[in-house]
């Protein structure tokens, strides 16, 4: 139990964060609405729009189902082997796809699965005629799984690692078989985080843009996001863009609501910070199975990344790294990534504390639960408002204040932080809930408060998920191109922008090199974000 004052502070902090997030989005929409313009787009609900909507939801649902279904066995295998030497590296690898610009990953996937890709070349040696075609729904699903299966897996492993060591000891002494372990220990832990993971993945896929166009094979495969982009960037029709954005928010939110994916299960359980020693899975069959699923998933992840590395190594990396343009872009990217990650972490902290404070009583009232849900849902739905809409809206708002280029860095940081919010929440909240449930009473009885409570009680437990959340958020911001596209001016160039600009003037080799460098920076960030973890698992192994 919190003291009444702590509860009030928590609820108020959550409310402030919520207000800031909503205000940022609503102000942008209002600015666009107020813009005098002659709508040119015609009606919203046409037969074509209806088809787009259906396709958007269909591919998002399939992508989510596949990503999650594949993530579960891999997560189980990785969680079963806390002392597996490459475990930390595999988990780091799983953050990587998010930090790369979508087009880079798409080209990497094409190098493996495309018409002239490795897979088809191998099959052609075996006498088959280009059996794999990734253009169409299949390619979209493949790419979405590539991006989201590792994300889902990473979050599921974290959930399993949070199970306390006593559980495994008990399971071991009871001689529970794999089925019982799954049923009584693993599944409940995964099931608790599954709605959160699925809704996140669903939204990422529903708002997919470049992947859908590049791998979709034609306009039959189009998402609403494409239509929004078109109405704002090409037609400059703000009312239509807003109508489509609201449609996207409403439809996606109702689908998620219907599926019961918004708002996670009740916080329960206790916490342990390091992966615990496991006593199960010692049979040969279990070892082989785990080795197989982990190996397959690593191959699936590594092949396209390897293609990016191979192409990148052919570039003149020395010249690229020492060029002024690169140094400038890398500096901007680093500052934006760090700032937006810190901002996302701060806002998430306020939201999570608000949520915990709201339901901090034996029987939280309807209003409290509604507030709890609102905080959770709004932190998720931010993904549905396209960055191009936010950017354009804020451009209009800031325009009267002078040169908008001055505000560009702050806006990009804010938009990137907003995009990272759902990820940070997913990483941070489950641990925080569990930690909170375990320690509140103890803390209250010890009378620990403020900084000392944070230092002795919260910090040791929360530092690991916070570092992971930061590395997620930084990777996301590093790979983002959308937010900068509108403001891009000569003074502000980020790495993905630089990469695109090389690509748009025939300099493919430079772009390949930059993709490799960007991947390396992302990997370095991920390693920094998980250093703590290595220490701990080493200690656990000793």
């Amino acid at each position: 139990m919190l003291t009444p004052q702590e509860r009030r502070l928590g609820v108020a902090g959550g409310a402030i964060a919520l207000a800031a997030v909503l205000a940022f989005m609503i102000l942008a929409l209002l600015a666009l609405l107020a813009f005098p313009s002659a709508p040119a787009g015609g009606t919203i609900v046409t037969a074509y729009m209806w088809r787009i909507l259906q396709f958007t939801l269909l591919q998002a649902a399939l992508s989510t189902a596949l990503s999650v279904l594949l993530a579960v066995p891999v997560a189980l295998a990785l969680a079963r082997r806390p002392n597996f030497a490459l475990r930390t590296w595999i988990l780091r690898l799983m953050v990587l796809p998010m930090g790369l610009p979508v087009l880079v990953v798409a080209l990497g996937l094409i190098a493996v699965w495309g018409r002239q890709g490795v897979a088809n070349s191998l099959l052609m040696i075996l006498g088959m005629d280009r059996p794999i075609s990734i253009y169409g729904l299949g390619g979209i699903l493949l790419a979405h799984v590539f991006f989201n299966f590792p994300l889902a897996c990473r979050l599921a492993v974290a959930a399993l690692d949070r199970l306390p060591g006593e559980y495994w000891k008990l399971a071991g002494s009871l001689g529970m078989g794999p089925v019982s372990v799954f049923r009584f220990l693993e599944w409940p832990a995964i099931a608790r985080v599954l709605p959160g993971i699925s809704s996140l993945v669903f939204m990422l896929c529903a708002t997919s843009f470049t992947i859908v166009l590049v791998l979709g094979g034609g306009p039959a495969a189009t998402t609403l996001e494409v239509a929004i982009y078109q109405s704002l960037r090409f037609d400059f029709d703000p009312p239509r863009a807003i109508a489509l954005s609201l449609l996207q928010v409403a439809v996606t939110a109702s689908v998620l609501g219907l599926l019961g994916l918004i708002g996670s299960a009740d916080p329960t359980g206790s916490s342990s910070s390091a992966p615990s020693r496991r006593y199960d899975g010692t049979s040969l069959a279990a070892r082989l199975w785990d080795a197989l699923v982990v190996l397959l998933s690593v191959i699936f992840l590594l092949l396209p990344l390897a293609a990016i590395v191979v192409e990148g190594l052919q570039a003149d990396l020395g010249r690229l790294l020492t060029s002024n343009a690169f140094v400038k872009a890398a500096t901007s990217s680093a500052i934006i990534a760090v700032s937006s990650a810190v901002l996302a972490l701060s806002v998430s902290t306020l939201l999570i504390r608000g949520r915990l404070a709201a339901i901090d009583s034996r029987r939280p009232g309807t209003v409290a639960v509604a507030y709890w849900r609102l905080l959770g849902a709004s932190s998720l739905l931010v993904l549905l408002v396209p960055p191009v809409v936010l950017g354009t809206g804020w451009f209009l708002l800031l325009r009267p204040l002078g040169d908008v280029a001055r505000f560009a860095p702050i806006l990009i940081i804010a938009i990137n932080a907003l995009m990272a919010l759902p990820f940070v929440m997913r990483v941070l909240e489950p641990t925080w809930e569990a930690h909170y449930a375990r320690t509140t009473r103890l803390v209250a009885s010890l009378g620990l408060r403020g900084f000392w409570k944070f230092w002795y009680v919260d910090r040791p437990i929360l530092v690991k998920p916070a570092a992971l959340a930061l590395s997620f958020a930084m990777a996301l911001s590093l790979g983002d191109l959308g937010a900068i596209a509108l403001f891009g001016s000569n003074d502000l160039v980020t790495l993905p922008w630089l990469l695109y600009s090389r690509l748009s003037s025939y300099r493919t080799a430079d772009a390949d090199g930059l993709a490799l460098i960007l991947g390396m920076i992302c990997l370095a960030l991920t390693i920094a974000g998980t250093l703590h973890q290595t220490d701990r698992s080493r200690r656990a192994a000793d």
Binding site: L215, G217, S489
Partner: protein, 335 residues
């Protein structure tokens, strides 16, 4: 007045300082990003023009020509731009309709573009014909006409850009419309079998060509010049189409809210002179829109020279773009 903005970053935000540069005349030109890139025409154009005037040229760049127009619409009459460089004939009518531009009133007799495009509002500064660029190591006999492209072997794939998000994509749509007229939807339904995928922009499509995923993509007749001049390879060539090629003419226009119109007009005139035109071919990889004082690089003489040029009236494009895109969507995504 010219202000240089420095971003002084610290972890949670940016402090802003501005340093006023020397008090001299300044010209603000909005353009697209690849124009101002270090290898683009921007730096040389700035240098050349500043030699002729006691002034400073400032470029503000956005992603592409369409983003340029959107940016101007967003800013309206409060824009800082004196000139907008990088519009093209397909969006010229929409640009005119904003009422933000005024007549250039400069002598453009030096301008010479295929199809003879002339306009009181915009000055052409370069042009290129759309063409399918192919990989000679894969394709030995590229289609020699639009008809052959449309009716050719569906197993031989091409990649085009989406007319909803890309100017070359829109250009190709207009090209097909120019060749086939009312029969365009039928042509698209046939061509659809050959289209591997439709990318959001030029870069993605061209990347698929250079990565060897597809042997032919929509680009410009001038694309092979880059590979010949900068990379010394003749591997990528443009296919010449018997019916003719659709042209993209890039334009620069004067904003009526400009506070240094005299200087801006001086620049518009400069655009039609060899000092500007000499820079274009090997930096923007487009054809010069007026005479150069030096010969074109040898590689340009080996490029496809379209026998016939298609160019639709900008107003016709503005009036029909939505309907034609809807027609394209129906043909490309229908059963």
């Amino acid at each position: 007045m010219y202000k240089l903005y420095l971003f002084l970053p610290f972890v949670f935000g940016f402090a802003i300082a501005h340093v006023a540069a020397a008090q001299e005349k300044a010209l603000t030109i909005y353009t697209y990003e690849s124009f101002t890139a270090e290898w683009g025409p921007g730096p040389k154009v700035k240098e050349e023009f500043e030699k002729t005037c006691d002034c400073t040229v400032n470029f503000v760049s956005v992603a592409d020509g369409v983003a340029l127009l959107s940016r101007l619409k967003l800013e309206g009459e409060a824009t800082d731009a004196d000139l907008a460089l990088g519009l093209d004939t397909n969006i010229a009518a929409e640009a005119k309709a904003t009422g933000l531009f005024e007549e250039h009133r400069v002598d453009i007799t030096a301008v010479d573009v295929p199809g003879g495009y002339r306009d009181d509002m915009f000055v052409p500064y370069d042009y290129g014909h759309f063409a399918l660029v192919y990989d000679t190591e894969v394709l030995s006999a590229p289609p020699s006409s639009m008809k052959e492209l449309v009716e050719g072997d569906p197993a031989q794939k091409i990649v085009i850009q989406d007319p909803r998000t890309s100017t070359p994509g829109l250009g190709f749509l207009l090209w097909v419309k120019s060749v086939y007229g009312d029969q365009a939807p039928d042509a698209w339904r046939k061509l659809r079998q050959r289209i591997l995928t439709v990318t959001p922009g030029w870069s993605e499509a061209y990347g698929l060509l250079t990565k060897g995923e597809v042997p032919m993509v929509l680009s410009y007749t001038t694309s092979p010049a880059y590979h010949m001049v900068a990379e010394g390879t003749e591997r990528y060539q443009a296919a010449s189409f018997a019916e003719g090629h659709y042209i993209q003419i890039e334009l620069v226009g004067l904003l009526k809210t400009s506070d240094s119109k005299e200087l801006a007009r001086q620049f518009l005139q400069f655009v039609t002179t060899p000092a500007f035109q000499n820079v274009i071919p090997t930096t923007n990889w487009m054809m010069p829109a007026a005479a150069m004082s030096e010969p074109l690089p040898e590689a340009f003489s080996r490029l496809v020279k379209p026998q016939k040029t298609f160019l639709m009236d900008p107003q016709q494009v503005a009036d029909n773009r939505h309907a034609w895109i809807d027609e394209w969507l129906a043909a490309m995504s229908g059963q």
